[in-house]
């Protein structure tokens, strides 16, 4: 009997560390499988983005008959939280936990908000559209509940992405950061493509019941994937917990001021804003442009999205490789923006009597540029941050990037609509409004190049002083030795 008991206890003790969340000790090297698992949070971010910007955009207008302007306002609500990413990142940097956790509590909270938003969203949308008995309900119920649902999902996405990226940065050495950034971007793209396909199939024949099933299914999948992503990623650590209790941190205002005054950060952020704005405006316009200006079929325009994604993937791969080999992230970003300009120029000429082939080629080139640019700027931001301010730096990156992309997408639609409205009277060609937006994008990319040029030059001069020396003494990793 006694030996049986001993065997049982030993078995349990052996099983424990594998299946219990807090019993794990972080090792020096993080295997790829663990990073792949962590990157699952990007899949849920992609799912949420596609659901909001793509699927619900259509379902609310076509099937639920919600006015388009109201839909636009609702979908813009998550943008309100984008600047708060800076604060979320800072909070996770200075978080005090008896368990020694910094990032995981925030990923968990973000997951809860994502889940909560998705859980009430279908019912809020049905009430908003006056389904069933909800016709008699006061109007404000639909407005506030739908708004709350979108706000919750938006807040959750911002929290999960900011803190998740910070956790990924914590886990790897600086040499491996380009690979991790590439992995995170690829998983975001992967999540967006897969979920777009799945939502499309599920909503082939729309019923209110299917809408509820789909959105709540997304809620459950989000929780499952995020749980899998954060499982055992951050070790419980008493030494770090003690350090957290004693550590003195700058107040938010001073910390952000320090980031702002550090070498070239403001300039880098400006480049990120301009470049993301320029590339972001293209996303929503390529498909209608192909259909209206070039007369492509639905199947052809869908293929365009695939082309854009292919170009972006190639861009990530090139950026990962080149930065990994030691090229400056800022220069790779510069190359990305520089590639984007001829891409847009090609798209404009394709409707002005140029070869039709210029359009798909231009699309791939834009994807390539956007991939290079996105990857390189995120890596640059990761490297610019000291280890104890990773959350703040990535929060700032996210705030600038998400705001620029969101405003870009919204503005592109508005500008196009305005010019389409104007050209009805004057009888302009159908490609004119699009070409105005594409030209504006070239201007923004050119501005980004102008701002980035001194940065690339200056960083090259500083290269003489190796900055890897201080990275070796990593306070976080030292404290992991228990």
């Amino acid at each position: 009997m006694r030996s049986l008991r001993t065997i049982a206890i030993n078995r349990l003790a052996a099983v424990g560390p594998r299946y219990l969340p807090f019993l794990d000790v972080a090792t020096d090297e993080v295997p790829l499988s663990r990073l792949l698992r962590l990157s699952l949070f990007q899949v849920t971010v992609g799912m949420a983005l596609v659901l909001l910007a793509g699927t619900l955009n259509r379902v609310m207008i076509v099937e639920l008959n919600v006015p388009a302007s109201l839909v636009a306002i609702m979908l813009a609500l998550p943008l309100v939280f984008a600047p708060l990413r800076t604060f979320i990142g800072y909070k996770s940097d200075v978080h005090v936990s008896a368990l020694g956790l910094r990032r995981v509590p925030y990923i968990w909270k973000g997951t809860l908000y994502q889940f909560g938003g998705f859980a009430i969203m279908p019912f809020a949308l049905l009430v908003l559209s006056g389904y069933g008995e909800a016709v008699d309900a006061p109007r404000w119920v639909g407005y506030t509940s739908a708004g709350l649902a979108f706000l919750l999902v938006g807040a959750g996405v911002h929290m999960v992405q900011t803190v998740g990226l910070a956790l990924a940065t914590d886990l790897v050495k600086e040499d491996d950061q380009p690979k991790v950034v590439g992995l995170m971007y690829v998983m975001l793209l992967f999540g967006m493509v897969i979920s777009a396909l799945v939502y499309g199939t599920l909503l082939e024949d729309y019923t209110p019941g299917k809408l509820i099933q789909m959105i709540q299914g997304a809620a459950v999948v989000t929780v499952a994937l995020n749980m899998a992503a954060m499982w055992k990623q951050e070790a419980r650590d008493r030494v770090r917990a003690r350090q957290m209790l004693e550590a003195q941190h700058d107040p938010f205002r001073e910390a952000i001021a320090r980031v702002a005054t550090s070498h070239g950060t403001i300039r880098l952020l400006l480049v990120i804003a301009l470049g993301t704005f320029g590339f972001g405006m293209a996303d929503v316009l390529l498909e209608p442009y192909g259909a209206q200006a070039l007369g492509l079929s639905v199947a052809d325009t869908t293929r365009l999205t695939a082309l854009l994604a292919t170009g972006t993937l190639i861009g990530f791969a090139i950026a990962s490789r080149n930065i990994g080999l030691g090229q400056m992230p800022v220069r790779v970003a510069l190359a990305g923006v520089a590639v984007g300009v001829p891409g847009f120029a090609g798209i404009i000429t394709s409707s002005l009597g140029g070869a039709a082939l210029l359009f798909p080629v231009g699309t791939v080139v834009i994807g390539l540029g956007a991939g290079l640019f996105g990857h390189a700027t995120l890596t640059a931001m990761m490297r610019a941050a000291p280890r104890d301010q990773v959350g703040l730096a990535l929060g700032t990156w996210g705030a600038v990037q998400a705001t620029a992309a969101g405003v870009g997408i919204a503005l592109a639609g508005i500008v196009r609509d305005v010019f389409v409205g104007l050209s009805h009277g004057t009888g302009n060609a159908p490609h004119a409004p699009y070409n105005i937006v594409f030209t504006a994008e070239i201007v923004f990319l050119a501005l980004a190049i102008l701002v980035a040029l001194p940065l690339a030059a200056r960083r090259a001069n500083n290269k003489a002083t190796p900055r890897s020396a201080d990275q070796q003494s990593n306070p976080v990793e030292v404290s992991w030795q228990r």
Binding site: S97, A98, L99, P105, W108, K109, L112, Y113, F115, G116, A119, I120, F123, A124, L126, V127, Y131, G132, E133, A134, A137, V141, S145, L148, R236, R238, A241
Partner: protein
């Protein structure tokens, strides 16, 4: 490890650690409860039950 007087058994966590784990559980339950309540109210608006 075992000479830490703060440790509570059988988990091996200290009191502060146990309280933190507990706070995550409580917060999660509160948010989940609030969301569930709101979802039920919204469903009741569109397809009323209980008369």
């Amino acid at each position: 490890m075992s000479d830490d007087p703060d440790k509570v058994w059988p988990t091996g966590l200290t009191l502060r650690e146990a309280e933190e784990v507990h706070s995550y559980l409580i917060d999660g339950t509160r948010v989940f409860g609030a969301i569930a309540l709101l979802a039920h109210i919204l469903v009741a608006f569109s397809t009323p039950w209980l008369g």
